[in-house]
Amino acid sequence: MQGTEKDLTALVQREYKEGFTTDIEADTLPPGLDEEVIRTISGKKAEPDFLLEWRLMAYRRWLEMKEPDWAQLHYPKIDLQDISYYSAPKQKKLLDSLDEVDPKLLETYEKLGIPLEEQKMLAGVRVAVDAVFDSVSVATTFKKTLSEAGVIFCPLSEAVKDCPELVHKYLGSVVPAGDNYFAALNSAVFSEGSFVYIPPGVRCPMELSTYFRINAMNTGQFERTLIIADEDSHVSYLEGCTAPMRDENQLHAAVVELVALKGAEIKYSTVQNWYPGDENGRGGIYNFVTKRGACKGKRAKISWTQVETGSAITWKYPSVVLEGDDSIGEFYSVALTNNYQQADTGTKMVHIGKNARSTIISKGISAGHGQNSYRGLVKVLKGAEKARNYSQCDSLLMGSTCGAHTFPYVEVRNPTAVVEHEATTSRIGEDQLFYCRQRGLSEEEAVSMIVNGFCKEVFKELPMEFAVEAQKLLGISLEGSVG
């Protein structure tokens, strides 16, 4: 039995293929955080006054806040004065075409499997990409095609210049500057992120995606994404992320805000593959992210799908505030923790409007010494007539040194609500593995089949090309991982 456990652990141990570093000259601020740093970041981006004021307000709020310690996570205190808050690859300003992007950057994305040349993408799947490298966006593809449909898809810093009224109206409208410690920090120092606006009645003609890459050392990434789906519009957005392998921990504190107006639908999918640290728990990204969507109008729908395989620490609760009547919130999650990874992740579904429905499907996989916690809140306010929630939290354990925890919170203030919660914990058994092998499948094929079966309900929510990537990440191709 002992032998089998060891084998299982070896199977989920994959090489982190995205762990390389790009050698590029960068404009990096020295480590440390004070008002001057914030003014400098804002200045570098030539931001309007309202934004600088907002940043400073967030910073002052943050100074009065304490790092949260309620999560089931253990890590040494992060020295926030030891981090650089801005790093940008040096390149010519105002790029008109990809020809002007530093070839080293193009190469980096090529290596990551994210081609930025549109003609290359046309051959395959049409996905528009915003590529964010450390603190800046290096390229956004298909802008033209999208603008013909009236869709705005650009780096947030560009949106601040091109459509400041939209930014002013919605930035911080879902996740306020002082929402929590990490969101406040992000509001003060965020450097880049993507901005999306879908006009009324428009179905976005292609998938939109942002690919985040941390490269520079001792740099935090603080991106901020804002997606606005105007009335009766529809958009599907994908987010991917990787980082080099380093012995130090790096902080990633992002904020994502989604606004769905009457009848609009936003589908937000993440495949999170930040560097998880090595097998002894050294290095890896600290991922403290605030993601929240607001269904502002009637029949609005927001759906979060996440596959979390990376990061040393994951602290993330993509949530939906169901303000509109008949609105829908969904959360589908797969979180894998291996080696010494820790994840405390889940969602909040806040029912405000009438007849709103929410669904939570969470799948946690723990291997090695991984610790995986689901933390979820279903809150039904007084006026939320006939709220409905269904939650299902399943945990899969591989081996005996990992852990799975479930913390479901339910607050119901309306007697017409129906809230259901189901939870299971199972173990990949020697039984299942042997059964598959007796049918002729290799150990690798067996583990990947069992794990994928466990995650099936979540994977089917992902757009096709992302589902393939997610399956790969979870080990459908565990080449060379078995000794």
């Binding site: 199972s426 598959c436 049918r439 002729g440 290799s442 150990e443 089949m449 466990f454």
Partner: protein, 251 residues
């Protein structure tokens, strides 16, 4: 086909098999009977290569190979099939998906073309009819929510898909009502041929009314204490296991 010589095996240090000798020729059907705890299931699992069991002595030759040196999946791909006493559930993985992956893994190993979805579907529907299994079971997760009888029928369906050279049926009859038993037996009998062998592990004689063995062996305390033809099973049924055990002790 299979040649077991002086096989000893232990579980967590406790000796279970104490010198098994068994020769199974092509086309033969052998039945191993014995009381609970005699080592019947251990023998089946050792042959399939479960690593929970430690082989402490002896050798096993399967179609000319040293079986004990082979990984479980290689044994399977070379034609050794185990119908499990307790078939395992795999949530979220459809019967169809698992079997297609497995059948193609076996075909790859043998240097045969993989079956495409259409070819596979045609084959499995044909085999499912053999064990009277409704098609909806093909789309359900492997053994999840199946009744005991359905699980056993699913094992025989898999056996039919792989067309193994040697099938080891580990108490496939346990927990089956008479109708299910007949269906299972019919499935197994349809696979009998001059180049396939079958090893039935069972507690009761009942199964042997439907799958008539060429040889019957009685296992006690990890050893075959008596061998004979199908009449031995009937005698055993009449006189009970204590009769052979006493008999063996006296001899």
């Amino acid at each position: 086909m299979l040649s077991v010589r002086n096989l000893h095996a232990a579980v967590e240090g406790k000796a279970i098999l104490n010198g098994i000798n068994l020769e199974i020729g092509p086309g033969q059907v052998h039945a191993i009977m014995g009381p609970n705890g005699s080592g019947k299931s251990t023998l089946a699992n050792v042959l399939a290569g479960r690593d929970h069991f430690e082989v402490t002595a002896g050798e096993v030759e399967f179609r000319g190979w040293d079986l004990l040196e082979m990984e479980p999946e290689i044994r399977a791909r070379e034609g050794l099939f185990l119908a499990f006493q307790y078939p395992v559930e795999i949530p979220g993985v459809s019967n169809l998906h698992m079997l297609k992956a497995a059948v193609n893994a076996v075909r790859r190993h043998r240097g045969e073309e993989e079956l495409n979805a259409m070819e596979f579907l045609k084959l499995i529907k044909q085999k499912a009819a053999l064990v009277e299994m409704r098609q909806e079971f093909l789309y359900r997760s492997v053994n999840e929510g199946f009744s005991g009888g359905e699980k056993k029928r699913n094992e025989i369906l898999q056996m039919a898909m792989f067309e193994p050279r040697l099938s080891v049926l580990d108490e496939t009859d346990s927990g089956l009502d008479i109708d299910a038993l007949k269906i299972v037996a019919q499935g197994v009998n349809s696979l009998r041929s001059s180049d396939r062998s079958i090893l039935l592990v069972t507690h009761y004689q009942r199964l042997l009314d439907y799958i008539v063995p060429d040889f019957v062996h009685v296992l006690a305390h990890g050893k075959i204490i008596r061998s004979g033809d199908k009449d031995l099973a009937l005698e055993l049924e009449r006189k009970g296991y204590s009769w052979v055990e006493d008999h063996a002790g006296a001899a």
